[in-house]
Symmetry: C2
Subunit: 308 residues, 2 copies
């Protein structure tokens, strides 16, 4: 895809689903000269080595970032402050520091106080993933045709933003640049609240006296199983997301609960017209998502193919 | 699959996703001698004829049921009382009357007062479907390896229950017999509440001032798009489900809201341990569903295949 690498030396801190997918695609398409991988767990680092995800493997993050032109933090967002403190003295002047975290305002707040003035902060968030985690979960096409949001500060170096844009395009993404606080509100709706709700209903269903868990499992195909996919996502990552996007999450949750109270009232009073009207208008949104190329149009996501 | 048909003459009232799937499979495997199809809409009836789903097509439901050994009501559950009133004088003595409705107590309450004493009521509910509706949405393998719940009264004729069991096995289903009220509580959890919540969040997301609908659509791949599938289900069918399973839905919704309030409080007060613990225990349920053969183990339901 590129004749010369976008970054001579890339450092990935954390090598889970996202980190390993970046590594696989960047190597496949020659986007970088070499990849240094750092993670705190010996086991994960060994696994990354066995999967041949990079060129160097470091338990010491200070060694990993040394000489890197671009450092991408791919750990849960609760770790960023500590990571920034550990890497800052060792960053190459002019290096780009980026990340893949699902929240962005907190990421800036955690990183900025530690980073030296001579590096460029370009926070990023690829809207891509699966319910699986760890270095084995990655695959090189994860970012294809998905959005990656960059949330640089207004004062950011335009050339650094341009390089990250090129890099993510190389990984297969479409790019949009937006303000970090706006990002956090948008993602609260499209991602954080759906995850919290999915985690919640799966929890509710497993805690009933009258309905056995075996029944929930057997008869899950009627809708519930969709929620269990999201509720199987990485618990540490998601704990940190909620702790670091508290304001937007609580605000959107308030709206969700108000709306649910209205539907609940309609059920209680038998207001069929209100229910019908509500259930009708929600159909169009899915059509829009399918038309935007962000979803399959196959029934049941294609998992139960009509023609086998 | 069978050497002689289970029913000489089957009548399907309503020919949407479920009715058409029954018709396609029953004909494919010779489960019935002939199929009479009835629906109130000329357009739908013409479409059923064009798709060659049956042997006879009737706008008049009284004509359709005449001589049928088994009548399966496949219309929204809000219609059952009227359907029962219309068909009862014309049912063949000894006929089985069944249905595919997603609630069962209300179905019995609606049907029983109208049915003559010489027919057998065996209510049924196949736990199968997609977000699509209408006669074009059906396919013959819809019921394969899915559960079908039968909820006959304690006084029901065992032979009639046995015949419906044979029929649904012929359609590909696994069978469980349970009490109608228990059915309604189980399905409130595994199906009705998930649908109400999905409809609700999609509604909430489309009503925000600060986040444009175009942004919700673009960045939906982060979780939200899963919910839009369920929220694209047939509005009439779902309106009727909520109106006819009010008690169980309101009870389960109360539990859901209590649990959500606890998670909300944990987010507000930064209780990471509570969030982590909750997010961890929900993973096992999905594993159980996959092991029970009710879900794919492919990431993202297989819609974004790693290997293309």
């Amino acid at each position: 895809m590129t004749s010369s690498p976008i970054f001579e030396r890339l450092c990935l801190i954390g090598i889970g689903l996202i980190g390993s997918s970046i590594a696989l695609r960047a190597r496949r398409d020659g986007l970088v000269g070499s990849i240094a991988i750092s993670t705190r767990s010996t086991e994960t680092l060994d696994r990354a080595r066995a999967l041949d995800l990079g060129d160097e493997y470091h338990l010491d993050v200070a060694e990993a970032v040394a000489g890197a032109d671009c450092v991408i933090i791919c750990t849960p967002v609760g770790t960023y402050s500590a990571v920034a403190e550990a890497i800052s003295p060792h960053l190459k002047p002019g290096a780009i520091v980026s990340d893949v975290g699902s929240v962005k305002k907190s990421v800036i707040d955690q990183l900025l106080p530690h980073l030296p003035a001579n590096v460029h902060l370009v926070p990023g968030h690829p809207i891509a993933g699966t319910e699986q985690s760890g270095p084995d979960a990655g695959f090189p096409t994860l970012f294809d045709d998905r959005w990656c949001l960059l949330t640089p500060l207004a004062t950011a170096d335009p050339q650094a933003v341009e390089q990250m844009t090129l890099f993510w395009k190389g990984l297969g993404s479409m790019i949009e640049v937006m303000d970090a606080e706006h990002h956090d509100r948008v993602l609260a709706v499209t991602s954080h609240i759906p995850h919290l709700i999915a985690y919640n209903i799966v929890g509710t269903a497993s805690d009933l006296e009258e309905v056995a868990q075996s029944e929930v499992i057997k008869f899950s195909a009627s809708g519930f199983r969709d929620f269990t996919r999201i509720a199987a996502s990485d618990p540490v990552m998601w704990r940190d997301v909620f702790l670091h996007n508290r304001g937007a999450v609580l605000e959107m949750l308030g709206r969700f609960s108000e709306d649910l109270a209205a539907l609940q009232k309609a059920v209680r009073w038998g207001d069929g017209d209100l229910l019908f009207e509500h259930f009708t208008k929600t159909r169009n949104i899915r059509r829009g998502i399918i038309e935007a190329g962000q979803e399959t149009d196959l029934p049941n996501f294609g998992r139960d193919q009509p023609e086998e």
